[in-house]
Symmetry: C2
Subunit: 182 residues, 2 copies
DNA sequence: AACGCCATGTAAGCAGTTACATGATTCA
DNA sequence: TGAATCATGTAACTGCTTACATGGCGTT
Protein backbone atom coordinates (compact mmCIF):
# COMPACT_ATOMS: atom_id res chain seq x y z
CA UNK A 1 0.00 0.00 0.00
CA UNK A 2 1.21 3.47 -0.75
CA UNK A 3 -1.49 6.08 -0.34
CA UNK A 4 0.34 7.21 2.77
CA UNK A 5 3.51 7.54 0.78
CA UNK A 6 1.84 9.40 -2.06
CA UNK A 7 0.50 11.83 0.53
CA UNK A 8 3.94 12.23 2.08
CA UNK A 9 5.48 13.03 -1.31
CA UNK A 10 2.74 15.50 -2.11
CA UNK A 11 3.07 17.25 1.26
CA UNK A 12 6.85 17.42 0.89
CA UNK A 13 6.43 19.06 -2.49
CA UNK A 14 3.95 21.48 -0.92
CA UNK A 15 2.18 21.41 2.48
CA UNK A 16 -1.60 21.57 2.31
CA UNK A 17 -4.97 20.68 3.80
CA UNK A 18 -6.95 17.49 3.26
CA UNK A 19 -9.12 19.30 0.80
CA UNK A 20 -6.14 20.60 -1.16
CA UNK A 21 -4.66 17.11 -1.22
CA UNK A 22 -7.92 15.76 -2.58
CA UNK A 23 -7.78 18.29 -5.41
CA UNK A 24 -4.19 17.36 -6.20
CA UNK A 25 -5.22 13.71 -6.35
CA UNK A 26 -7.90 14.69 -8.82
CA UNK A 27 -5.33 16.45 -10.95
CA UNK A 28 -1.62 15.77 -11.03
CA UNK A 29 -1.09 12.92 -8.57
CA UNK A 30 -4.23 11.17 -9.78
CA UNK A 31 -2.27 10.30 -12.90
CA UNK A 32 -0.57 7.53 -10.97
CA UNK A 33 -2.49 7.23 -7.72
CA UNK A 34 -6.22 7.79 -7.32
CA UNK A 35 -7.91 8.58 -4.01
CA UNK A 36 -11.14 10.21 -2.87
CA UNK A 37 -11.38 12.89 -0.22
CA UNK A 38 -13.00 10.47 2.25
CA UNK A 39 -10.07 8.14 2.01
CA UNK A 40 -7.56 10.97 2.26
CA UNK A 41 -9.12 12.38 5.44
CA UNK A 42 -9.14 8.98 7.07
CA UNK A 43 -5.54 8.18 6.20
CA UNK A 44 -4.45 11.69 7.14
CA UNK A 45 -5.98 11.23 10.58
CA UNK A 46 -4.06 8.02 11.09
CA UNK A 47 -0.87 9.66 9.85
CA UNK A 48 -1.38 12.50 12.32
CA UNK A 49 -1.92 10.03 15.19
CA UNK A 50 1.26 8.22 14.19
CA UNK A 51 3.15 11.53 13.94
CA UNK A 52 4.01 11.26 10.30
CA UNK A 53 2.49 14.67 9.66
CA UNK A 54 1.76 17.73 11.81
CA UNK A 55 -1.23 20.03 11.41
CA UNK A 56 -1.39 23.78 11.74
CA UNK A 57 -4.78 25.49 12.08
CA UNK A 58 -5.21 28.22 9.51
CA UNK A 59 -8.05 30.68 10.02
CA UNK A 60 -9.38 32.19 6.82
CA UNK A 61 -11.97 34.87 6.32
CA UNK A 62 -14.65 34.37 3.76
CA UNK A 63 -13.83 30.68 3.88
CA UNK A 64 -13.96 27.83 6.39
CA UNK A 65 -10.88 27.34 8.52
CA UNK A 66 -8.54 24.65 7.40
CA UNK A 67 -5.82 22.43 8.80
CA UNK A 68 -2.59 22.56 6.84
CA UNK A 69 -0.40 19.48 7.11
CA UNK A 70 3.38 19.21 6.86
CA UNK A 71 5.61 16.16 6.98
CA UNK A 72 7.40 15.53 10.29
CA UNK A 73 10.87 14.05 10.68
CA UNK A 74 9.23 10.71 11.42
CA UNK A 75 7.27 11.01 8.19
CA UNK A 76 10.44 11.71 6.25
CA UNK A 77 12.05 8.61 7.74
CA UNK A 78 9.02 6.53 6.84
CA UNK A 79 9.22 7.75 3.25
CA UNK A 80 12.94 7.12 3.02
CA UNK A 81 12.50 3.58 4.31
CA UNK A 82 9.72 2.96 1.80
CA UNK A 83 11.81 4.28 -1.11
CA UNK A 84 14.37 1.59 -0.30
CA UNK A 85 11.81 -1.20 -0.47
CA UNK A 86 11.28 -3.17 -3.69
CA UNK A 87 8.76 -1.75 -6.15
CA UNK A 88 5.51 -3.69 -5.82
CA UNK A 89 4.11 -5.22 -9.02
CA UNK A 90 1.06 -3.32 -10.18
CA UNK A 91 -2.44 -4.69 -9.69
CA UNK A 92 -3.71 -4.33 -13.24
CA UNK A 93 -7.43 -3.89 -13.76
CA UNK A 94 -8.34 -2.97 -17.28
CA UNK A 95 -12.06 -3.08 -17.85
CA UNK A 96 -11.88 -2.30 -21.53
CA UNK A 97 -9.59 -5.18 -22.44
CA UNK A 98 -12.03 -7.60 -20.78
CA UNK A 99 -14.87 -6.09 -22.79
CA UNK A 100 -12.97 -6.33 -26.07
CA UNK A 101 -12.38 -10.03 -25.55
CA UNK A 102 -15.96 -10.39 -24.35
CA UNK A 103 -17.25 -8.77 -27.55
CA UNK A 104 -16.54 -12.03 -29.36
CA UNK A 105 -19.51 -13.51 -27.49
CA UNK A 106 -21.95 -10.72 -28.18
CA UNK A 107 -24.12 -10.00 -31.23
CA UNK A 108 -23.54 -7.21 -33.81
CA UNK A 109 -25.75 -4.81 -31.84
CA UNK A 110 -23.61 -5.34 -28.78
CA UNK A 111 -20.44 -4.78 -30.73
CA UNK A 112 -21.90 -1.58 -32.19
CA UNK A 113 -22.62 -0.39 -28.65
CA UNK A 114 -19.06 -1.22 -27.62
CA UNK A 115 -17.67 0.72 -30.60
CA UNK A 116 -19.59 3.76 -29.37
CA UNK A 117 -18.20 3.31 -25.89
CA UNK A 118 -14.64 2.94 -27.14
CA UNK A 119 -15.04 6.12 -29.17
CA UNK A 120 -16.24 7.99 -26.10
CA UNK A 121 -13.42 6.57 -24.04
CA UNK A 122 -10.95 7.55 -26.74
CA UNK A 123 -12.23 11.13 -26.84
CA UNK A 124 -11.83 11.35 -23.05
CA UNK A 125 -8.22 10.27 -23.24
CA UNK A 126 -7.50 12.55 -26.17
CA UNK A 127 -8.66 15.43 -24.00
CA UNK A 128 -6.53 14.16 -21.14
CA UNK A 129 -3.48 14.12 -23.39
CA UNK A 130 -4.19 17.69 -24.45
CA UNK A 131 -4.33 18.73 -20.80
CA UNK A 132 -1.07 16.92 -20.02
CA UNK A 133 0.66 18.67 -22.93
CA UNK A 134 -0.69 22.06 -21.85
CA UNK A 135 0.49 21.36 -18.29
CA UNK A 136 3.92 20.38 -19.57
CA UNK A 137 4.26 23.58 -21.56
CA UNK A 138 3.14 25.62 -18.55
CA UNK A 139 5.16 23.91 -15.82
CA UNK A 140 8.28 22.87 -17.70
CA UNK A 141 9.24 25.54 -20.25
CA UNK A 142 12.18 24.72 -22.51
CA UNK A 143 14.44 27.53 -21.37
CA UNK A 144 14.20 26.99 -17.63
CA UNK A 145 16.93 25.33 -15.56
CA UNK A 146 14.89 22.89 -13.48
CA UNK A 147 15.60 21.69 -9.95
CA UNK A 148 15.96 17.99 -9.21
CA UNK A 149 12.38 17.89 -8.00
CA UNK A 150 11.12 19.51 -11.18
CA UNK A 151 13.10 17.17 -13.40
CA UNK A 152 11.65 14.16 -11.61
CA UNK A 153 8.12 15.57 -11.76
CA UNK A 154 8.66 16.19 -15.45
CA UNK A 155 9.81 12.67 -16.23
CA UNK A 156 6.75 11.30 -14.45
CA UNK A 157 4.54 13.59 -16.52
CA UNK A 158 6.29 12.44 -19.70
CA UNK A 159 5.35 8.92 -18.61
CA UNK A 160 1.71 9.96 -18.48
CA UNK A 161 2.00 11.53 -21.92
CA UNK A 162 3.67 8.44 -23.39
CA UNK A 163 0.97 6.26 -21.85
CA UNK A 164 -1.86 8.32 -23.33
CA UNK A 165 -0.27 8.34 -26.79
CA UNK A 166 0.21 4.59 -26.66
CA UNK A 167 -3.37 4.16 -25.49
CA UNK A 168 -4.82 6.29 -28.30
CA UNK A 169 -2.92 4.31 -30.92
CA UNK A 170 -4.10 1.08 -29.40
CA UNK A 171 -7.72 2.25 -29.23
CA UNK A 172 -7.53 2.98 -32.97
CA UNK A 173 -6.43 -0.59 -33.53
CA UNK A 174 -9.26 -1.84 -31.34
CA UNK A 175 -11.78 0.21 -33.30
CA UNK A 176 -10.44 -1.16 -36.58
CA UNK A 177 -10.88 -4.72 -35.32
CA UNK A 178 -14.34 -4.12 -33.89
CA UNK A 179 -15.51 -2.48 -37.12
CA UNK A 180 -14.52 -5.51 -39.17
CA UNK A 181 -17.54 -7.22 -37.65
CA UNK A 182 -20.05 -4.77 -39.07
CA UNK B 1 -16.24 -4.40 -10.48
CA UNK B 2 -15.48 -6.93 -13.17
CA UNK B 3 -13.77 -10.04 -11.86
CA UNK B 4 -17.02 -11.89 -12.45
CA UNK B 5 -17.05 -10.66 -16.01
CA UNK B 6 -13.43 -11.53 -16.63
CA UNK B 7 -14.24 -15.05 -15.42
CA UNK B 8 -17.27 -15.23 -17.69
CA UNK B 9 -15.19 -14.23 -20.71
CA UNK B 10 -12.49 -16.73 -19.83
CA UNK B 11 -15.00 -19.56 -19.36
CA UNK B 12 -16.70 -18.71 -22.63
CA UNK B 13 -13.36 -18.89 -24.41
CA UNK B 14 -12.76 -22.22 -22.71
CA UNK B 15 -14.56 -23.95 -19.79
CA UNK B 16 -12.32 -24.88 -16.88
CA UNK B 17 -11.90 -25.47 -13.15
CA UNK B 18 -11.12 -22.87 -10.51
CA UNK B 19 -7.54 -23.98 -10.55
CA UNK B 20 -7.28 -23.66 -14.32
CA UNK B 21 -8.83 -20.20 -14.13
CA UNK B 22 -6.27 -19.20 -11.53
CA UNK B 23 -3.49 -20.27 -13.89
CA UNK B 24 -5.01 -18.31 -16.74
CA UNK B 25 -5.16 -15.25 -14.50
CA UNK B 26 -1.48 -15.74 -13.80
CA UNK B 27 -0.79 -15.85 -17.51
CA UNK B 28 -2.89 -14.34 -20.27
CA UNK B 29 -5.81 -12.71 -18.48
CA UNK B 30 -3.54 -11.40 -15.76
CA UNK B 31 -2.26 -8.92 -18.32
CA UNK B 32 -5.38 -6.85 -17.74
CA UNK B 33 -7.02 -8.33 -14.68
CA UNK B 34 -5.18 -9.84 -11.74
CA UNK B 35 -6.75 -12.26 -9.26
CA UNK B 36 -5.55 -14.89 -6.81
CA UNK B 37 -6.93 -18.40 -6.57
CA UNK B 38 -8.58 -17.62 -3.23
CA UNK B 39 -10.52 -14.79 -4.73
CA UNK B 40 -11.45 -16.82 -7.79
CA UNK B 41 -12.84 -19.70 -5.73
CA UNK B 42 -14.92 -17.35 -3.64
CA UNK B 43 -16.35 -15.48 -6.61
CA UNK B 44 -16.90 -18.70 -8.51
CA UNK B 45 -18.95 -20.06 -5.63
CA UNK B 46 -21.14 -16.98 -5.64
CA UNK B 47 -21.52 -17.20 -9.41
CA UNK B 48 -22.58 -20.81 -9.08
CA UNK B 49 -25.17 -19.91 -6.43
CA UNK B 50 -26.51 -17.18 -8.71
CA UNK B 51 -26.59 -19.58 -11.65
CA UNK B 52 -24.17 -17.69 -13.83
CA UNK B 53 -22.05 -20.81 -14.23
CA UNK B 54 -22.69 -24.54 -13.96
CA UNK B 55 -20.21 -27.09 -12.66
CA UNK B 56 -19.56 -30.58 -13.88
CA UNK B 57 -17.60 -33.02 -11.70
CA UNK B 58 -14.67 -34.52 -13.56
CA UNK B 59 -12.97 -37.55 -12.04
CA UNK B 60 -9.33 -37.90 -12.95
CA UNK B 61 -6.90 -40.67 -12.15
CA UNK B 62 -3.50 -39.82 -10.86
CA UNK B 63 -4.86 -36.39 -10.01
CA UNK B 64 -7.47 -34.89 -7.68
CA UNK B 65 -10.99 -34.61 -9.05
CA UNK B 66 -11.95 -31.22 -10.33
CA UNK B 67 -15.07 -29.22 -11.01
CA UNK B 68 -15.23 -27.80 -14.53
CA UNK B 69 -17.32 -24.69 -14.95
CA UNK B 70 -19.23 -23.48 -18.00
CA UNK B 71 -21.23 -20.31 -18.51
CA UNK B 72 -25.02 -20.69 -18.28
CA UNK B 73 -27.57 -18.76 -20.32
CA UNK B 74 -28.02 -16.46 -17.33
CA UNK B 75 -24.28 -15.87 -17.26
CA UNK B 76 -24.28 -14.98 -20.93
CA UNK B 77 -27.06 -12.48 -20.35
CA UNK B 78 -25.16 -10.95 -17.46
CA UNK B 79 -22.10 -10.55 -19.65
CA UNK B 80 -24.09 -9.05 -22.51
CA UNK B 81 -25.68 -6.52 -20.17
CA UNK B 82 -22.29 -5.60 -18.75
CA UNK B 83 -20.77 -5.13 -22.21
CA UNK B 84 -23.43 -2.49 -22.86
CA UNK B 85 -22.54 -0.52 -19.74
CA UNK B 86 -20.09 2.41 -19.90
CA UNK B 87 -16.42 1.57 -19.49
CA UNK B 88 -15.37 2.42 -15.93
CA UNK B 89 -12.37 4.74 -15.54
CA UNK B 90 -9.35 2.81 -14.34
CA UNK B 91 -8.18 3.01 -10.74
CA UNK B 92 -4.54 3.83 -11.37
CA UNK B 93 -1.99 2.81 -8.77
CA UNK B 94 1.56 3.20 -9.93
CA UNK B 95 4.00 2.68 -7.11
CA UNK B 96 7.05 3.51 -9.15
CA UNK B 97 5.91 6.97 -10.22
CA UNK B 98 5.33 7.89 -6.57
CA UNK B 99 8.83 6.70 -5.75
CA UNK B 100 10.40 8.66 -8.58
CA UNK B 101 8.83 11.87 -7.36
CA UNK B 102 9.71 10.90 -3.80
CA UNK B 103 13.37 10.45 -4.78
CA UNK B 104 13.69 14.23 -4.81
CA UNK B 105 13.47 14.11 -1.02
CA UNK B 106 15.98 11.34 -0.47
CA UNK B 107 19.77 11.45 -0.31
CA UNK B 108 22.17 10.12 -3.01
CA UNK B 109 22.34 6.72 -1.32
CA UNK B 110 18.58 6.44 -1.53
CA UNK B 111 18.56 7.45 -5.18
CA UNK B 112 21.26 4.87 -5.90
CA UNK B 113 19.06 2.22 -4.28
CA UNK B 114 16.12 3.36 -6.38
CA UNK B 115 18.20 3.16 -9.56
CA UNK B 116 18.94 -0.46 -8.71
CA UNK B 117 15.27 -1.15 -8.15
CA UNK B 118 14.27 0.49 -11.43
CA UNK B 119 16.85 -1.61 -13.25
CA UNK B 120 15.46 -4.77 -11.70
CA UNK B 121 11.92 -3.70 -12.54
CA UNK B 122 13.00 -2.92 -16.10
CA UNK B 123 14.59 -6.34 -16.54
CA UNK B 124 11.36 -7.97 -15.34
CA UNK B 125 9.33 -6.11 -17.91
CA UNK B 126 11.82 -6.79 -20.68
CA UNK B 127 11.35 -10.48 -19.95
CA UNK B 128 7.59 -10.01 -19.94
CA UNK B 129 7.76 -8.38 -23.37
CA UNK B 130 9.82 -11.27 -24.68
CA UNK B 131 7.18 -13.69 -23.43
CA UNK B 132 4.38 -11.67 -25.02
CA UNK B 133 6.19 -11.65 -28.35
CA UNK B 134 6.81 -15.39 -28.15
CA UNK B 135 3.14 -15.93 -27.33
CA UNK B 136 2.11 -13.77 -30.25
CA UNK B 137 4.26 -15.74 -32.66
CA UNK B 138 2.89 -19.00 -31.29
CA UNK B 139 -0.80 -18.12 -31.07
CA UNK B 140 -1.21 -15.73 -33.99
CA UNK B 141 0.94 -16.85 -36.93
CA UNK B 142 1.00 -14.53 -39.93
CA UNK B 143 -0.51 -16.94 -42.43
CA UNK B 144 -3.52 -18.04 -40.41
CA UNK B 145 -7.04 -16.78 -41.07
CA UNK B 146 -8.18 -15.94 -37.53
CA UNK B 147 -11.70 -16.16 -36.12
CA UNK B 148 -13.34 -13.09 -34.59
CA UNK B 149 -12.41 -14.29 -31.13
CA UNK B 150 -8.78 -14.74 -32.13
CA UNK B 151 -8.59 -11.34 -33.75
CA UNK B 152 -9.94 -9.70 -30.60
CA UNK B 153 -7.59 -11.69 -28.38
CA UNK B 154 -4.75 -10.65 -30.64
CA UNK B 155 -5.55 -6.95 -30.49
CA UNK B 156 -5.64 -7.15 -26.68
CA UNK B 157 -2.25 -8.85 -26.70
CA UNK B 158 -0.89 -6.15 -29.03
CA UNK B 159 -2.06 -3.68 -26.39
CA UNK B 160 0.03 -5.48 -23.80
CA UNK B 161 3.02 -5.42 -26.13
CA UNK B 162 2.60 -1.71 -26.87
CA UNK B 163 2.32 -1.02 -23.15
CA UNK B 164 5.52 -2.90 -22.31
CA UNK B 165 7.45 -1.15 -25.08
CA UNK B 166 6.24 2.24 -23.91
CA UNK B 167 7.13 1.31 -20.33
CA UNK B 168 10.67 0.22 -21.22
CA UNK B 169 11.32 3.48 -23.09
CA UNK B 170 9.98 5.46 -20.18
CA UNK B 171 12.07 3.52 -17.66
CA UNK B 172 15.16 4.43 -19.69
CA UNK B 173 14.19 8.08 -19.37
CA UNK B 174 13.68 7.65 -15.64
CA UNK B 175 17.09 6.05 -15.27
CA UNK B 176 18.71 8.90 -17.21
CA UNK B 177 17.12 11.44 -14.88
CA UNK B 178 17.96 9.54 -11.71
CA UNK B 179 21.58 9.12 -12.80
CA UNK B 180 22.03 12.86 -13.26
CA UNK B 181 22.01 13.06 -9.47
CA UNK B 182 25.06 10.88 -9.02
C1' DA C 1 -33.15 31.08 -5.25
C1' DA C 2 -30.05 27.71 -6.75
C1' DC C 3 -25.68 25.93 -7.83
C1' DG C 4 -20.89 25.27 -7.15
C1' DC C 5 -16.86 25.67 -4.37
C1' DC C 6 -14.45 25.36 0.09
C1' DA C 7 -13.82 22.37 3.99
C1' DT C 8 -14.30 18.30 6.94
C1' DG C 9 -15.90 14.37 8.26
C1' DT C 10 -18.92 9.41 9.66
C1' DA C 11 -20.80 4.83 8.51
C1' DA C 12 -21.74 0.73 6.02
C1' DG C 13 -20.33 -2.49 2.97
C1' DC C 14 -17.66 -4.88 -0.44
C1' DA C 15 -13.45 -6.25 -2.90
C1' DG C 16 -9.10 -7.88 -2.48
C1' DT C 17 -4.86 -9.49 0.14
C1' DT C 18 -2.43 -12.50 3.24
C1' DA C 19 -2.07 -16.33 5.99
C1' DC C 20 -3.35 -20.89 6.92
C1' DA C 21 -4.98 -25.65 5.76
C1' DT C 22 -5.26 -30.27 3.41
C1' DG C 23 -3.89 -34.05 0.57
C1' DA C 24 -2.51 -36.70 -3.48
C1' DT C 25 0.88 -37.36 -7.37
C1' DT C 26 4.96 -36.77 -10.06
C1' DC C 27 9.67 -35.79 -10.78
C1' DA C 28 14.55 -34.85 -9.57
C1' DT D 1 13.39 -37.27 0.60
C1' DG D 2 11.91 -33.11 -0.79
C1' DA D 3 10.02 -29.95 -4.04
C1' DA D 4 6.70 -28.86 -7.48
C1' DT D 5 2.16 -29.35 -9.45
C1' DC D 6 -2.73 -30.28 -9.16
C1' DA D 7 -6.86 -29.08 -6.65
C1' DT D 8 -9.88 -26.72 -3.34
C1' DG D 9 -10.92 -24.16 0.12
C1' DT D 10 -11.53 -21.03 5.15
C1' DA D 11 -10.51 -16.96 8.09
C1' DA D 12 -8.93 -12.57 9.30
C1' DC D 13 -7.90 -8.33 7.89
C1' DT D 14 -7.22 -4.10 5.26
C1' DG D 15 -8.14 -0.82 1.81
C1' DC D 16 -11.33 1.40 -0.92
C1' DT D 17 -15.95 2.80 -2.51
C1' DT D 18 -20.48 4.67 -1.86
C1' DA D 19 -23.72 7.03 0.55
C1' DC D 20 -24.76 10.39 3.82
C1' DA D 21 -24.01 14.73 6.54
C1' DT D 22 -23.06 19.73 7.62
C1' DG D 23 -22.48 24.58 6.76
C1' DG D 24 -20.89 29.08 5.01
C1' DC D 25 -19.55 31.96 1.00
C1' DG D 26 -19.63 33.60 -3.84
C1' DT D 27 -21.66 33.78 -8.27
C1' DT D 28 -25.38 33.70 -11.79
Amino acid sequence: MALEHAILVSLLEQPGSGYELARRFERSIGRFWTATHQQIYRVLKRMETDDWVVAREVGQDGRPDKRTFSVSDTGRDVLTAWLREPVQPEAVRHDLAVKVRGAAFDDPAGRAALIGEVERYRAEHEELLTRYLAGEKRDFPDDAAPTTGQRLQHVVLRGGIAYERMLLDWLDEVLTELRKEA
